[in-house]
């Protein structure tokens, strides 16, 4: 597995055009920007500060930073990456002031975490060590309407809310917002390997929550 820094994506043509609208003072464009990034900004801020309330203040301050920097933004990174870096910088400063800096290294995944409880696999003395004791359920047999009902969305959201902050930030960026791995690495200043471990742990935990929901 390679852990080389990803080549960072620069702003797309679409983004450059969007940027022009923002700079021209287009309020609809600004609102769209706020709608798109607000949740992710909160998730990123929460990786550095202790409470949701402080994270909200960080995000407000970050928007002022975005406005201040908008004219000078050179589109060498995507807009999302640039915004998340502003959030991260403000949140870090705030975290230090709170004297509860999440030490830098702790954004990296800590310790070991099994995707599935080890009890669900056969032990080393078994004829088939590491094999499922009982297969996980086939979710293809779950009716679409159950799979797609609001309840399963709520379960997923609740599971994400319970995640450790770094995992929450990564799954929010990757799977809720659809950001690329390069954007996550740039915003959270983690290596590609680490963003993948965080994503893996987050998805595994959300899967487990959905499994409890579907399989009862």
């Amino acid at each position: 597995m390679t852990d080389a820094p990803l080549k960072e994506r620069t702003a797309s043509a679409e983004e450059v055009e969007f940027l022009a609208r923002l700079r021209a003072g287009d309020e609809r464009a600004f609102e769209a920007l706020v709608d798109r990034h607000y949740g992710t900004m909160l998730a990123v801020a929460r990786t550095y500060v202790s409470s949701r309330a402080v994270a909200e203040e960080v995000v407000q301050e970050a928007w002022l930073g975005v406005l201040k920097g908008l004219d000078g933004f050179e589109a060498r990174s995507s807009l999302a990456t640039w915004i998340m870096r502003i959030v991260a910088n403000i949140a870090k400063t705030r975290g230090v002031r709170e004297a509860r800096t999440v030490p830098y290294a702790s954004l990296a995944p800590e310790g070991e975490e099994a995707a599935v409880e080890w009890e669900r696999f056969r032990g080393p003395g078994d004829a088939f060590p590491g094999h499922w004791r009982a297969y996980p359920a086939n979710w293809n047999s779950i009716p679409e309407e159950v799979l797609h009902e609001r309840d399963s969305l709520r379960v997923a959201m609740a599971a994400i809310a319970e995640l450790p902050p770094a995992q929450r930030a990564v799954i929010t960026m990757r799977d809720v917002q659809g950001c690329g791995p390069d954007e996550v690495c740039a915003a959270l200043e983690v290596s590609d390997g680490n963003q993948r471990v965080l994503l893996h742990r987050a998805r595994s935990r959300v899967r487990a929550a959905l499994e409890r929901h579907f399989d009862g």
Binding site: R36, Y38, G39, L67, W132, S152, D175, P181, R203
Partner: protein, 83 residues
């Protein structure tokens, strides 16, 4: 990551699945992973559960911006435009 190099076990599949879906497994390991899925229905279902999880999470709406925050930000935007 696999303990032996001739196969991966179910307990390894559940740890490799994200690397597999992200296409970041080395070719040789990706091949072992796929070989395992060829004969293990349980792991096919597990990988499918992860895919369903990703799809479900993808349907979550971004967090709503509270109205008072929205209006404060719009005011800031108008001020910025004027300056």
């Amino acid at each position: 990551m696999a303990e032996s190099h001739d196969h991966v076990s179910c307990s390894e599949v559940v740890e490799l699945v994200t690397d597999y879906l992200e296409r970041s497994l080395p070719a040789e390991e990706a091949e072992l992973f796929e070989q395992h899925l060829n004969f293990c229905e349980g792991c096919v279902w597990y990988v499918d559960q992860i895919r369903t999880t990703v799809k479900t999470v993808g349907r979550i709406e971004s967090e709503e911006v509270p109205p008072e925050v929205r209006s404060q930000l719009l005011t800031a935007f108008r001020d910025w435009k004027r300056s």
